[in-house]
Symmetry: C2
Subunit: 246 residues, 2 copies
Amino acid sequence: MVEAEIPADHPRHDSLVTRHRVEAGVEKGITSRQGLIAQGRGEAFDYLLGERTIPSADAAARAAAAHLLLADHPVVSVNGNAAALVPAELVALADAVGADLEVNLFNRTEERMRAIAEHLRDHGATGVKGLAADARIPNLAHERAKVDADGIADADVVLVPLEDGDRAAALSDLGKVEIVIDLNPMSRSARVADVPVVDNILRAIPNITTHARELADADRPTLERIVGEFDPEATLAAAERAIRDG
Amino acid sequence: MVEAEIPADHPRHDSLVTRHRVEAGVEKGITSRQGLIAQGRGEAFDYLLGERTIPSADAAARAAAAHLLLADHPVVSVNGNAAALVPAELVALADAVGADLEVNLFNRTEERMRAIAEHLRDHGATGVKGLAADARIPNLAHERAKVDADGIADADVVLVPLEDGDRAAALSDLGKVEIVIDLNPMSRSARVADVPVVDNILRAIPNITTHARELADADRPTLERIVGEFDPEATLAAAERAIRDG
């Protein structure tokens, strides 16, 4: 069965699509071993969450959209799993909010960097950043610290899908507004985020895009109100309750 | 850092050892892609369980040991993740209870079968089964149904570490006593087991061996009492509570 043949109303639709894209990611040299293990961790948390977008995650997606629209220079950071799972969806989000896409890998090799940039371009991206690597995030090991001077180094709002607790903490220390997508509400990435979106990336990215399109004509005070009313701690507590209570 | 250098009292000891062995498993062609994803799912459940053996899992390990000692022909089924994670521990358990080790893979290839059998022999196993594949489990797809006529097909008690819900159900339908090690108490494997051990395989296998050595001189009525008093449903409920309540 190819992905296009999976019926949209199949009860395991997201899970089957995910499996297909992860396999393709491995074939293309995009998905790493650690990426496969991280994928499994995500599956378990999503299973406990009921494989749905809970109300608090939807509110977080709306706050994320407002932050991205308010930003002077929003950047969407892309790692191997994000590129494998939602390449077209990341491009659509970047278009909707005028953000740059920048590739950043936990296990950085030039080969994987190029494969991921090409994969994003195959899905419509123009001007993928991350390959220049002419700036550094302070207080992080060398390879993981590499960013583009005109990308994440210059951004005021950064969306970081999926995990790397150290990097999430280092970006937060730089005073950037950080939006994190992570299915584990107890993770360090989720805890340091200004906006933690506890949801499957397959649902979260299109949902942020939908909110951004709805808010495209909203005035600045409206966006600032949405951002100001968002409570990251209450959001994490609601997500943890949903996971624990089933 | 090589595995021997990880201090036994390191707070993340099990997690670091696991990471090392999974990596080595990939290098040796033992661990599959699906195995890496399954490893991640296990990590998430173990995290929620507090990365410890809960009392109900210890009671299950004791009942598992009693079943294995009472058996006429106990067999320990070994898949890629089990072989990568606890090769020496599986050999020690098989020795302690007089069980056969039989390799059975969800994604069976002759190459992986041989790599896993060799890995077990490197860790002291003699007479690894699974390569003859001269019998079938009814009601299962061809490759996953393959077993040895003088191994699992002939066994009265089978220990199945880690997941494959369909295979666990088919073995249970054959009327064999089935011991399952699975960190997800809601999984089908755990639910069809006579003895579900909801614990990390890294802790569960040595723990079953310890109980088996303690019970080595116990008489039959004592072993039968331990087996008779074990309640799989209460065990699963306790594990689910531990995961949900944190």
